[in-house]
Symmetry: C2
Subunit: 366 residues, 2 copies
């Protein structure tokens, strides 16, 4: 059973959202430490531990930067750092669409491959588009939080390997830490997440890996982000073992505590546990409702349940919250009443997910 934290009366709800998710009590407590200078040796100890442990957990030799920001900042920074003119973004939900929007707002040209919500990106479409055009980068979402789709990033990466001058940027915000991916093997240049999802930490930090090629590309480039700059962050880390700008120290204390725990569990077991929760949730959804995401491309961390019984989603969420102190999510945006979403990520396990589905069955009279 997930170790939920209920030491204060006004927060006695267990979170099954597609993030934020439950955070273990010792991780929350780790934040409550008096201030110390972020240019001190103590900070070097803290930050180098975080970075090296993260590399170990992610099973990667790529460089890692941990930035005080939400994941959105890495959409912006990776675009500023790697895209001069034109980017390709396959869109199949709210978050891939937002990735395209961020790049457009920065003044970049964006070509989309548009998929219906619930469908996955198909590598052959990416290949076809790359054959026809010239792109600085492809940006793809690994786990579409809005639809419960897990895109075949590994296969898209195979396609990208034929285009060494096109960088591969992957938003893995709602799955990294709960869905293993071979980063180098998939030809990824930058993959990022934020801490309040499958890492099961408080929100406020974002993590990005950086390939050597991506670093070199930024160094050679005429313009790049400073705050989210790879060069800035990684060079400073090499020289000082610290962050190049002031970090959210309390969140890093929490990060260190939780990452130790994640390493103890190990990425294989963490992946297996999430696969198990996802399989259970899908079986349950199939039995009582339907599944919104395309067969074969279903998320390991978020299940989008198709509301085939036409239950009152908002009322059910409300009642489960009132009666069981458990919070799950409606469908995203246009899907509000057509679907609901269960986040099975982070520190949840089969038992805690079953407790939620039992509660939904009870309230909805299934």
């Amino acid at each position: 059973m997930v170790r939920v934290t209920k030491n204060q009366e006004y927060t006695d709800k267990t979170l099954y959202l597609p993030g934020p998710t439950e955070v273990r009590e010792e991780v929350i407590e780790a934040m409550a430490e008096p201030m110390f200078g972020h240019r001190s040796e103590r900070m070097t100890d803290l930050y180098t531990t975080i970075v090296e442990d993260t590399k170990e957990f992610l099973d990667t030799d790529q460089d890692v930067m941990v930035l005080t920001a939400s994941g959105t900042e890495f959409w912006e920074a990776t675009t500023l750092n790697l895209v001069d003119d034109r980017m390709l973004v396959p869109t199949s939900g709210a978050f891939s669409e937002r990735q395209a929007n961020v790049a457009e707002r920065l003044g970049k040209a964006v070509d989309r491959i548009e998929y219906e919500w619930g469908k996955a990106v198909k590598p052959e479409d990416v290949r076809e588009t790359l054959e026809a055009g010239d792109y600085d980068a492809v940006g793809a979402v690994m786990n579409e939080t809005s639809t419960g789709v897990r895109n075949p990033i590994e296969e898209i990466g195979e396609v990208l390997k034929e285009y060494p001058d096109t960088y591969f940027i992957v938003d893995a915000i709602s799955c990294l830490g709960g869905d293993y991916i071979d980063i180098e093997g998939s030809g990824i240049d930058a993959i990022f997440t934020s801490t309040q999802k499958a890492f099961a930490m408080p929100p406020g930090l974002a993590v990005c890996t950086v390939s050597d090629a991506a670093y070199e590309r930024e160094v050679a480039s005429d313009s790049a982000s400073w705050y989210g700059g790879f060069q800035r962050a990684l060079d400073y880390y090499d020289r000082k073992g610290q962050t190049h700008s002031t970090p959210a120290v309390p969140l890093m204390l929490a990060y260190r505590r939780q990452m130790k725990h994640m390493l103890e569990e190990g990425h294989e077991e963490r992946d297996r546990r999430h696969r198990e929760m996802a399989a259970y949730t899908r079986d349950w959804a199939r039995e009582h409702f339907g599944l919104f995401a395309e067969e074969g491309y279903r998320s390991q961390t978020v299940t989008c349940v198709e509301n085939t019984r036409d239950i009152d989603v908002e009322a059910t969420i409300e009642a489960v919250s009132e009666e069981y102190d458990m919070v799950f999510s409606s469908g995203y945006g246009p899907l509000t009443e057509e679907a609901f979403r269960i986040g099975h990520m982070g520190e949840h396990d089969l038992e805690s997910i079953r407790a939620l589905t039992d509660a939904i069955e009870d309230v909805a009279g299934l």
Copy 2:
């Protein structure tokens, strides 16, 4: 006496750095709360309280955004949002130079007015440069942390009023909350700080005010930041009372607690207390050493003491830390041994600053 927090053995040092500074214990404790969704009503309560209290404390009707980031992100975002081509940055220390660097890294043209370290920016130089050139914005540092100079932002603002199409961006990172400024009266379009300085909160959040003109400029612009976008943040706040991307909730809990305290003290009293600490520190510095910053332009939050006695700065810092558990700062960069810096900001008061100067006198044998 500042209410220092010493409940854990490994952090028994009182911080007199130019940030981070001491954080009151109840503010640190406010972070240790279980997770809740950042799209919940509870988040709306939290964030609207923070924003409205900040506007009240800053004595401004401008819009306010609180972003999960260090202050550096607002250098980047304000440049992306307000500068198409060319920016003017008067440089007189490490941080104004960095402001110029950030803009250049983003691919903007930057003209500098260069001053010797320790000198203040002169409004007449800004006027002269604006008469000769065409600039999207002027970016100035209010409080040069590296030199202890407080630039005459109000007078520079007077000059800028003659150039309504040139936006005025002010980095007030190391002084806002400890040095009152009339934001609208000074013609400022965006002024920002980060929380670990005179606000006396944990690091990890940054605050920016936005004039109507700056907002309109961004809306009309072809390119802007998404993460640090004024439009994005302020529209979302208007519609939902929340942040447009995932916020560092624990830091916002700390922010709310401390901002209540700051409002109770009031901005006039907070300004007076900082003026008093600065006057004391300068008198002490004059008696035993010298002052690095130009007469008439000395900071209310950081005093840069010129090492006229040629004491061993690093050894003195080390000994004061060892014997008195107090931490202050050496000179910045090239000034390491030529100066030392005392941060008198946030929750410090005369008594706590005296305790530090007594300790320095003892250790240095003054």
